[in-house]
Symmetry: C2
Subunit: 492 residues, 2 copies
């Protein structure tokens, strides 16, 4: 059976509604037809640079119009795009470039330093502007089964895995979201989260599939985000709790216009005081649950339930099914187990990781590793992300990855990492370390060592020296018991 084909998204959109606005920044507004023309030029320049259909191309950029153009241009060619997290260290990026089989890397002045020492062909997008054009054979159709993008996500085992998103995963995510949130002709989505994360990238896709503008911010600035809602016609924004708190603080007593209809809140359950503050401000908060593997939100809580179902992530999107499994069997309502998700936006698997794919995805069901339950009405409550995932300001941090770095230090014998609550970031990582006997090492030294090897947001905020780590009978680290070591310390 042949996979369903859809006309090239941006090209079709530029044909159907050429003059609608595709992108707004602080300085300019770009129509779909102009964006399409710019993308054709970039596709031709990339073709000149030697990129062909099927090539893997990595993009290391900050949110910008150029980044949007590059992402679309790679689709026009039919290349597979790896979205690299610009906060990662050189070592981390090097692994992803090698693992993905990247042929060429597109980046910018501000970031190229990170990859200077990596032996891979690099092109600065600014310089590409000067390239001659070689006519690209534009992909007129996107096959829903075709690989579109790769995003790396770490896991409980430490080594990052490349999540492959097909065109179909992204398409179904956009459709599922619109069937839930509705679609208004005057919709306008604020994109102030990174496009190298699924939360940002999915907004870009919705923009072309829905025919609505995305307001693009390079980084998150609460004042600018509020201004975009107040003055630029933004009706929907994707956000995490730490961003929302800062926007509310900046907003003061002002209120958003009535046309602002959806604050789509991801990255873990929101604290009640924050939700109450939003209610007082008439801000409709839609809490969501999703992950890279599901190509953005798959479960959403409508605002009318935000207090009555406090802590719930809501119900699945229309094309999605959810179940809870406990010891391999379906759990009863209110019984806690692993959250398992099925739907056409769920990834078909991890790049080069047949075993990890087989473990995670069984008969179309994604075993998320997250723990939770469904109440009597089928609302999902997420108890714990992937047993030990730390979500800090919307970024995922995997303890295993930090532990691997710590253990690489010659003076550290054992290490365990867990998240501790933090008023600003939701959670921050804390490390528990057992030193090599007789050796001397300070907290500052360990933190400095981490800075060398880890993206800034992953570096533990505190280091605790301990005599032994909590382990079970088979010597497996019990990360959730680490926090109890702190209580003991305080009691002492």
């Amino acid at each position: 059976m042949k996979s369903t084909e859809i006309p090239n998204w941006l090209k079709q959109r530029a044909f159907l509604t050429p003059n609608r606005i595709a992108i707004k920044t602080e300085y300019e507004e770009i129509s779909f037809i102009t964006l399409h023309k710019n993308v054709v030029r970039k596709a031709n320049q990339l073709t000149f640079a030697g990129i062909h259909k099927g090539d893997v191309v990595s993009v290391l950029m900050k949110n910008s119009v150029e980044m949007v153009e590059v992402i679309h241009a790679l689709k026009y060619i039919g290349a597979v795009t790896v979205l690299l997290n610009s906060k990662l260290t050189s070592n981390e990026l090097g692994f992803q470039l090698t693992d993905s089989g990247t042929k060429m890397m597109l980046t910018e002045d501000a970031l190229i330093e990170k990859v200077n020492e990596i032996d891979i062909e690099k092109v600065l997008v600014k310089e590409m502007e000067q390239f001659p054009e070689k006519e690209c054979h534009i992909q007129e159709y996107f096959s829903l089964d075709q690989a579109d993008t790769i995003m790396y996500t770490s896991g409980t085992t430490g080594r990052p895995k490349g999540v492959i998103h097909t065109y179909g995963n992204h398409w179904w995510s956009a459709v599922g979201s619109s069937l839930n949130l509705g679609l208004h002709q005057d919709d306008c989505w604020l994109l102030a989260v990174p496009m190298f994360h699924i939360s940002g990238l999915s907004i870009l896709y919705r923009s072309v599939i829905y025919g609505i503008p995305a307001v693009i911010h390079e980084g998150f600035d609460p004042k600018k985000a509020n201004a975009a809602i107040m003055n630029q016609g933004v009706t929907i924004m994707s956000i995490v709790s730490v961003m929302l708190s800062r926007m509310l603080a900046e907003l003061g007593d002002e209120k958003y216009p009535d046309s602002f209809r959806c604050m789509l809140l991801g990255g873990g359950p929101a604290p009640k005081p924050l939700l109450e503050k939003c209610m007082a401000h008439n801000i409709p908060v839609f809490q969501t649950y999703g992950m890279t593997e599901t190509a953005s939100q798959v479960v959403t809580l409508a605002p009318e339930y935000s207090i009555s179902k406090l802590g719930s992530a809501g119900k699945p999107l229309f094309p999605v099914q959810i179940k809870i499994e406990k010891e391999g069997k379906p759990a009863k309502p209110n019984e806690i187990g692993e959250i398992v998700v099925k739907g056409p936006s769920v990834t078909k698997g991890y790049l080069n990781r047949i075993d990890a794919t087989k473990t995670s995805i069984v008969d179309g069901w994604l075993y998320t590793g997250d723990i939770g339950y469904l109440d009597d009405e089928g609302f999902l409550f997420v108890m714990d992300r992937r047993s030990d995932l730390i979500i800090s300001g919307g970024e995922n941090i995997y303890p295993a990855e930090l532990e691997a770095v710590l253990l690489a230090h010659p003076k550290i014998l054992e290490a365990g990492v867990t998240g501790i609550e933090d008023a600003k970031w939701g959670q921050v990582p804390a490390a528990f370390v057992r030193k090599e006997e007789g050796s001397h090492i300070t907290e500052a030294e360990i933190i400095a060592f981490c800075y060398e090897n880890l993206a800034r947001f992953k570096v533990p905020k505190s280091i605790y020296f301990v005599d032994r780590l909590p382990r079970n009978a088979s010597n497996k680290l019990l990360r959730r018991k680490l926090i109890e070591l702190l209580k003991d310390e305080n009691n002492d």
Copy 2:
């Protein structure tokens, strides 16, 4: 490759938004959860009656809540549903029942007379209410490749063909429409066209997929339709020109509420005076082009173009592509040729008609037989439906089918049928007949003969006796030249 699966539409909708209204009639409002429960009961009763997954079941009913329940119940079981046009004659119905391999027929008192003499198992839906329930194995997922419904459409060759619609055809039609028209939480769709046509059935599907109410009218009544828009919160209505004219006449000087946002007008281009009258009344008209084979509209003209692109059907829906072919090659802009359509809502083929399927659908492109062109901006202009299709008050009439009936009369030697303009119905069929030499037969006799063999709406409004019919060199009837015989007559 496994086809994409979506959770059972009504069941999922009843789980996600149980208390939203699914159906409104003059007398009652039914929520999705109540509809689901009623459908489970019907599915159980149909199971008791011996219907299994994969069985072909024909439905001969007028629009009603029971008809909605039956259609969903057959999906719960996984049976294939044939939607029968209640205006057809016994002979016409008999052919469709046999051709489709119908196992059982579901009908109602008012219609059973038509099929009394047909040897097939019939169940009156009213009587089914008394059946015991036998637990049905509910289809939890709909595979997008699975056959869902069959609707018969005649063609240029006369013998009706069963168009197979998969779940995917209907799904993509609903999604394509929402990406074009948008989707508001307060949307409400007036269903006053027959559910045995794709125009009516597609509204039923949109209701469950979008989670919005359908207001169901048994038949079209301009006063009731206006009242539904005025008082029942209708925001969208599917309509054809003859209905719209009658509603405007009935409306007088009144205006629809601002919340009414879309008059979706199918069945051929609208006359300019009608469109101007709609503008004066602030009624947003979306002209559309579509057919049974495309599972409803595939091309739509937004209201802002209704006058500047007068006569155009608009641009394709997002998942759809259109091209014009002339002598097997793509036509240039403004060049007239055959309209060819591709998209995931296009049928995979006709039941039991491998040859007709191969001729009509090539590499996913549907050769519609309709004639038209694309202007410089890509707007579609339909010149002529299927060379000789007559559209009368939204019903398709195929000359070849009428001619076959006429030729079956012993005193008729040759017959040709074409559409002539009619102020009320848009078009009506007229027949040109050459009598057996020396025989005597009157217009009234022929019309009476037609009533016995054809649905009422297909019966020619006038019969013209002629000495010879216009034919080309290979003796093929030139239907478009029939009308010239009339001019000659008037000139005589």
